[in-house]
Amino acid sequence: MVAAAKRLRIGSRLPAQIALAPALLIALVLYCGTTSWTVWISLTSSRMLPNSVFVGLRQYDVLANNDRWLASIANIATFGALFMTAALTIGFLLAAMIDQKVRAESLLRSVFLYPFSMSFIVTGLAWRWMLDPTLGFEKLLHDIGFADAHFDWIVRPDRVIYTLVIASVWHAAGLVMAIMLAGLRGVDREIWNAARVDGLPTWRIFVFIIIPMMRGSFATACVLLATSVVKLYDLSVAMTNGGPGIASEVPAKFVMDYLFERGNLALATAAATTMLITVVVVVAPWYHWQGRKARMAGIA
């Protein structure tokens, strides 16, 4: 009886239902559908074209023994750790300094943030040129008298990943700064005054009072940076194209290459599925927390 009553009322909700239909369709077909398809292909023996020969987890076995995939994983781990540490540190330092009532604040903010407005392709090409071992910074060092100086990281397999870190920190530090600055501005001025009255030195106030209060800003920045790590593709393509050798290969590029160039769909989708699982494992706790917050606010 209650159900019947509720149904009567759907009349006024009909336009909302219709308005939601495109998004629901996208979610069901283009998100869920494609994801399941990708997972399914990874369980088959597909090569150039998808087939339905179920082979269980064999592709994952192959993947676990694929040198290029292993290199990609190792690269992204190194990259991720260095990039996140550096971007968070530099971003926070910049924000903390800009927050000290400096002159030309908005100019400085613009300077630190403008790289973020540019694409990874542009970022990659600019840095590739500057790090060029024959005509870039190395030559500059030679010209100003350091004849033995070497700055050829971009062509050295053991160093190339650091060049990706430099470029992407340049690209993203401003974003962290913007988030942190918003967090700092959200801290009550009274807290600063109280701590000053207590005679605490500035660095102590930061470490023991302000940073703990900025958990939210750090969480946001971390989630954003971590996502960009997993998605890293364009930068590697533009800057090094995975080279030298496979020294700057990354998982996203592995998937693209095996999908569209090497024609090994099953392996590519197995790699994509692995990325998916990683993201879900990282995001799920955060999502749970956000969801609870939303539910408590009575939304969604």
Binding site: M1, V2, A5, K6, L8, R9, S12
Partner: protein
Amino acid sequence: MNQAPNRSSVSLRGVEIAYGPVRVLDRLDLEVAQSEFLVLLGPSGCGKSTLLNAIAGLTEVDSGEIWIGGRNVTWEEPKDRGIAMVFQSYALYPRMSVRKNMSFGLEVSGMKRPDVQRRVTEAAAILQITELLDRKPSELSGGQRQRVAIGRALVRDAGVFLFDEPLSNLDAQLRAELRTEIKRLHARLGATMIFVTHDQIEALTLADRIAVMRDRRIQQLGTPHDVYMRPANKFVATFVGSPAMSFLSGHITEGRVFETSTLRLDLSGYAFTAPPSVGMPVDLGIRPEHVVLAPGEAAAIPARVELVEPMGSDLLAWTRIGEAALTVRLSAETPVAPGDILPLMFSTRRLNLFDAQGERL
């Protein structure tokens, strides 16, 4: 505004509403007569807004029926129910001028432009907001905003006006001013009005009848006088009246006498709703103004003054009889200081007796 009588009764029959597992209204029945001013009074979260939203059609009821003006409107759209509503946060459309705010609903309903203008002009005149008509809501003060919100309801020419705590965002003075305004409006329009508040002064001054709500239920439905003088239970007794009613705990002895360790009180003048049994524990409720000073009276009860609060026109003495606390309202000139012993008498007719469950005896 319109001379045509446009008044509707409202009736709720067994209305139940739940948000998921949380039940907010429980088989609620309520009859509001034509042209009546009903106030829903209750503490925060007791379901007043939910009830009002159900009448307006903004919340689906899970079971039960809602009738307005003799029609079952349970499943009708808000706009078809012949109601108008005023909200606590004013809920004015921020990007529209005052005029547009007031005419929006009429334009939606397809009314002709001259008629819309006429109604807006009339309503604006009644509320004295004519000179504000071309401003944006952000350019108005809180009191002006709420006037506009009332104006927006007024132009709808509805049979039932619903107010959800319309005054609670205003300061005390504006509140009093708009309260009288609403009362005048009710007299002028004769429309049925249902007014939600948790402010008892508003309830007592405005209402024809008050419905005191708590915990998904209406605790008492009656005239302000009834609710104040003959509260149906201890909750209503404490919730209405400021400062709150004082309670003395004791029991009934032979011959309808109320007895505590420190006092005995003859209850022969009290109008019992049911005959009390001997020995039953009861709470005796006394309003501060129903206590009189009786110097030299042999039967007077001695109370020790702990604190004196001058209130301008009168003063409050916070006293104790034995261990029990009793608040007494006295005239401002009474010479009284902490430590004094006051001889007090109660008028039996104005006492309130509650049984162990808190129900009126």
